[in-house]
Assembly symmetry: C2
């Protein structure tokens, strides 16, 4: 769907929402569909680890409680969800992650009923957000709201901060991005191209490689599943070596990249998705190249760059409107389809940013 | 021997040298004892890979050739020698490495007969240095000349630049140093203490651990060979975690350190001596912690910091004279003992900086 059509559609929905709210607001109060973390994850995340159920309770945000109660609209499927599942969530609790939501009740002075927010919420219809200070208020609604789960959300800020603040890019640098068709990778590649770098990506299917070359404007790309020798693939695509590696996968790919780094190269470690589902992480053998080529390898977290969010929007919103940035979403309709969508992010099934629509209001 | 006594002794030798040179200079012209790289190194370096022989040829530095001919005095035994042996040297050629030497003939305008230099030379009595621009002229001779192979040479500059330029230290940081009794490690620890950090080191014998605690002023130290669980040892010595890891060994130690890094910690990769003798480097499994704790890991080479050498001397010479820096050498007398001394650096036999004396003039 074209951008204008999509926005038009959202405006219509907004009108319908307000009409509906006025007419029969109380009818749906007492149910809350949720995705629950049911079983301890060992190895890969499977759909059976999760369960969709309906609670008969809906949270409230009391006056002056400092909390807000929201209706969730769009949920992001990020590797970060798995991190939260593995490290923070108790069995039986609701899956958490970033999402776009509408404030229904506010006990916090900075938010009022009707505000749209982007922040850490839960995989359910209605959520209580107890620390809304960590949410961004969505001011620009002339782009599709779902974009705030990806391009204009945490993956976007991650790509922006990771590339411009951690990679120390210079015009003409050679940039390699793994998992390049993912939510962050596709943006890093486009930022790097707009900045004047030579950009190569790897992905896990012919379809994704075609997207990288033909939709996202990468200079070259390869399907790592079809390469017998990752080192040789990198030497073919980047014969002079790599100045910047934007690391999303870890393991064997990192080992091959280390062999191909240029002196004073930078490896920005954003993720190691190939390792998340392993009980014992693969060994990386070529770290000696960090010394031999004076390479800097740096892990970063988007949280440290929250303060850049306004600057990021200021840069990226015009680029979206001018058509300089391409973006792809993979939409799952309804919380029922949430578990499958999330599992698909790790199996490599999703193409582009995987979003779960809870409600189009 | 005390510092003053050692300097006194060197001055006497200098006088003897000049007398000897005037009386019978030509007698020893036509021999040149050398340490040769005889056999390809696979696995560990052994004495049998090297051979001491005497050539009947001595090099000359012709006028305006741009080269200098030197008499080697003190040779450094560094891990870097093995790097040169493995990667640069042809079988049958002379081992190369850093050393202190006296200029006997100069074809370069910046050097004259009698100058003392510190630079990349060969393991032989007389060497031709074809790019003397890379040598430092030794101006301060009120410290033992052998110090220029270690404390005042490349290991010193490595420790200084590695700590102050790469580690981004802050007062109060917790610092862990592996191979801490080695030439670089003992200095990093002392620089860190003088700077106001809490410093812990690991080494491979009780004797070395005692030195770290009692001579080099480390806050704590442990013998990694006696620890069944390196992670537990680190947690015992640094219960709040590690801000800075000065990495000299690699492998299992790096894996244990990664588990104990504090958020925004820095790992400065100076060496990975546990890996140098392995055909296949050990896998490092815990790199995910780079992301989880936003850790920066950076390889560096002292070459990039040559320009800091004068500033380094300016800082360290007074500290030596004021007794603020302790330093230990392990002296091997004569080129004949060079191969055993070099092998000792990798087997952990040497304590302090291993030096080979070619000539005290």
């Amino acid at each position: 769907m074209c951008l204008t059509g999509q926005i038009q559609r959202e405006r219509e929905r907004e009108r319908e929402r307000m009409e509906k709210e006025n007419s029969n607001a109380s009818a749906e109060v007492m149910r809350n569909k949720q995705v629950i973390y049911r079983e301890k994850v060992q190895g890969s995340l499977k759909e059976t680890h999760l369960e969709v159920r309906t609670s008969s309770e809906r949270p409230n945000a009391d006056k002056d409680s400092g909390a807000i109660m929201v209706k969730n609209l769009y949920l992001a499927c990020d590797p970060y969800n798995l991190h939260l599942i593995k490290f923070s969530t108790q069995l039986g609790s609701t899956v958490s992650g970033y999402g776009v939501a509408r404030v229904l009740e506010s006990g916090h002075p900075n938010f009022k009923k009707g505000d749209l927010v982007l922040g850490l919420t839960r995989w359910e219809e209605y959520s209580l957000i107890t620390a809304p200070e960590t949410c961004f208020k969505i001011e620009h609604t002339d782009v599709p709201l779902s974009y705030y789960t990806g391009l204009l959300g945490m993956p976007g800020l991650t790509a922006y901060a990771g590339f411009f603040e951690v990679c120390s890019p210079k015009k003409g640098d050679t940039v390699f991005i793994s998992a390049a068709s993912g939510a962050v990778g596709q943006l890093v590649g486009q930022f790097a191209k707009l900045f004047g770098c030579y950009v190569v990506g790897s992905a896990g299917s012919k379809e994704k490689v075609d997207l990288l070359k033909n939709k996202f404007g990468f200079d070259d790309a390869f399907n790592y599943k079809e390469e017998l020798d990752l080192d040789a693939a990198l030497k073919r695509c980047l014969p002079e070596g790599i100045d910047i590696y934007f690391e999303n996968v870890g393991g064997k790919m990192l080992d091959a990249v280390l062999l191909n780094m240029k002196p004073h190269g930078r490896i920005t470690v954003c993720g190691m998705i190939s390792q998340y589902n392993l009980e014992q992480h693969e060994g990386v053998h070529n770290l000696m190249h960090l010394i031999w080529k004076q390479v800097r390898m740096e892990g970063f977290a988007m949280f440290d760059y929250y303060h850049l969010y306004p600057k990021f929007l200021e840069t990226v919103l015009p680029q979206i409107k001018e058509g300089k940035i391409a973006y792809m979403e993979d939409i799952a309709e309804g919380l029922e389809n949430g578990p499958a969508a999330l599992v698909g992010v790790f199996s490599g099934r999703s193409i582009g940013k995987q979003v779960v629509v809870v409600s189009r209001e």
